[in-house]
């Protein structure tokens, strides 16, 4: 990481008609940093992403990528960034190699160097075996890797990932993220959006976003420290009664999908007392370090999965 900014946002607002999608975003991402924008659906992630990636103009404020204005110096920005979109952006009917080769031409490479670059990426990303295959016939994980290869064709300094591993299985996701780690290790900057906290976890810094505003920014550990102490999760036969009892006894329980959450400086010390005196039978009790989910819950009173936008099918295994 260096102290040169890779991405800067100053007072960004975006309105779509009556919808105020971004309500004043200020943000700096340093070069060499892996930065995650974490928030529920409809929080404004994709809008902020689109502005930084030169696809949308802000209604107010300005954004810079590597020092270049994303509106006035759009093509300078484009030359230096690679983008993996939420939706597929490949021509399914063409072979994998041709997709990469053509993208090289769009980035101004000669046919010869575009071909060399395509082969290079196919090898490093483990796609050599499927290079000649029609892109639409690849597996989900392979397709995502080709998307990544497409984004890397022009040797970008900054890589944008918008919900890049949505719908991938665990193996494919691990494989994908190890490639991202390698990009960062080689000095690249990564800006990613996600609504899964485990995808944000490996980031150097995370910004929590909700309702078009940044709630907080910091390293995963910083954010968890904000919660203070640990989290006690309690599931009982009658959570409503248990919550009432807890409130009467000076605790601050918060409802979550899995039960009642108590944030305590020393949760392990509190647990036996609560269990012994609770008037309803406890079914399950656990103590854990605060997760990013807990941070979000603390700041908004909602879980990441609740969202503010259209519901998406819930993926298995994303909540600890």
């Amino acid at each position: 990481m260096s102290d040169l900014p890779a991405l800067e946002a100053h007072g960004l607002h975006k309105r779509y008609g009556a919808v105020h999608a971004l309500r004043g975003i200020d943000l700096t991402v340093w070069r060499g940093e892996m930065f995650a924008l974490l928030g529920p659906n409809g929080a404004g992630k994709t809008t902020l992403f689109s502005i930084l990636a030169t696809l949308t103009k802000p209604s107010e404020g300005e954004a810079r990528v590597l020092g270049h204005d994303t509106v006035r110096e759009r093509s300078l920005v484009r030359r230096n960034v690679g983008i993996v979109f939420q939706e597929p952006a490949l021509e399914g009917k063409l072979p994998v190699r041709d997709n990469l080769l053509l993208m090289g031409l769009f980035y101004g490479l000669s046919i010869r160097s575009a071909r060399a670059r395509a082969n290079d990426l196919l090898n490093t990303l483990g796609l050599g075996d499927v290079a000649a295959r029609e892109t639409s016939r690849l597996s989900g994980g392979q397709k995502r890797r080709v998307e990544l290869a497409r984004a890397l064709v022009a040797r970008p300094d900054v890589l944008f990932l918008d919900e890049a591993t949505l719908g991938l299985d665990v193996d494919a996701r691990r494989h994908f993220w190890s490639e991202i780690q390698r990009f960062v290790a080689n000095g690249g900057t990564v800006f990613l959006t996600t609504h899964y906290m485990d995808e944000a976890e490996p980031a150097d810094r995370i910004a929590l976003i909700d309702g078009g505003r940044i709630l907080t920014v910091g390293s995963p550990q910083d954010l968890k420290n904000q919660v203070g102490g640990g989290v006690l999760l309690l599931s009982t036969e009658d959570n409503a009664r248990a919550a009432d009892w807890l409130r009467e006894h000076g605790y601050v329980p918060e409802n979550s999908a899995r039960g009642l959450l108590l944030v305590e400086p020393e949760p392990a010390a509190v647990l036996p007392r609560v269990l012994a005196q609770l008037p309803v039978r406890a079914l399950c009790a656990e103590v854990h370090e605060p997760s990013l989910e807990d941070v979000f819950l603390r700041l908004t009173g909602r879980t990441l999965e609740d969202g503010t936008g259209p519901a998406e099918p819930r993926r298995m295994g994303n909540l600890q």
């Binding site: 696809l55 960034v81 952006a89 021509e91 009917k93 063409l94 980035y107 101004g108």
Partner: protein, 247 residues
């Protein structure tokens, strides 16, 4: 220039993997030529052969028109599947993408039309080398006109459901009004007036002139009109693409 070339190479690669589209685009012109042409020709005052010769250039125009506009309509498809985004974030100017689309649409339209030229000897039409090149030059001009029309239109749409509407409500009327199937001289006044606004009419007339040496409009007028259409429609196409920054 490199961006323009990249668009053209991309589209031609796709045309090659999608050869079925090329073959099936020949069906409609062949139907018009041999079914409609033979059927109507039998009761036409021009006689069967005379009528086939009359509509042959019109059918070339039909082939160019539909192939060019539908090649452009693939932009809508690309936008729908998300592929267009990858191109729009590349460091290529929107004008270069629009121009590339116009050129590639014209090339995609010329391929099936050139295949239809193989029918010339079958129809007992023999052209001198000079008139053959005159015909070819006219075809290139026509294909650019129709492609620019297609790109200027397609870049505005977000959904592929408009395809059949464009085909039936825009392209077929343009084809029917053009005098491709019947001589405009004998047509009612209103129809002749409408034909003046129809680029297909000038294109078909120039091609018929090259083959049969018979013109409805003076060639200079047709040439001026086609070039005018190309300039205006291409300009519109670049404007639509440039305006689409919030894609």
């Amino acid at each position: 220039m490199k961006g323009l070339l990249a668009v053209v190479i991309l589209d031609l690669k796709r045309l090659w993997v999608d050869r079925i589209r090329l073959i099936s685009s020949l069906i409609q012109p062949l139907l018009y030529l041999f079914v409609l042409g033979s059927g109507l020709g039998a009761s036409s005052t021009l006689g069967r052969t005379g009528y086939l010769h009359y509509i042959y250039p019109g059918v070339l125009a039909l082939s160019l028109l539909f192939s060019a506009v539908f090649a452009a309509m693939l932009i809508v498809f690309d936008r729908q599947v998300g592929f267009l985004k990858a191109i729009l974030v590349a460091p290529v100017s929107r004008a270069a993408i629009a121009l590339g689309k116009v050129v590639s649409g014209a090339i995609q339209a010329l391929v099936p039309a050139t295949i239809l030229l193989a029918l010339l000897p079958l129809l007992h039409l023999s052209l001198s080398v000079a008139t053959f090149f005159q015909l070819l030059a006219t075809m290139i001009l026509a294909s650019l006109t129709f492609s620019a029309l297609g790109v200027a239109t397609a870049a505005r749409f977000r959904s592929t459901t408009v395809f059949p509407i464009i085909g039936n409500a825009v392209l077929l009327p343009m084809f029917f009004l053009s005098g491709a199937l019947f001589p405009l001289q004998n047509a009612p006044m209103w129809l002749r007036w409408l034909a003046h606004a129809d680029p297909v009419a000038y294109a078909a007339d120039l091609m018929r002139g090259a083959i049969l040496d018979r013109y409805v409009y003076p060639p200079w007028l047709s040439l001026t009109m086609l070039i005018g259409f190309i300039v205006i429609l291409t300009w519109m196409a670049t404007r639509v693409f440039a305006a689409g920054e919030d894609a």
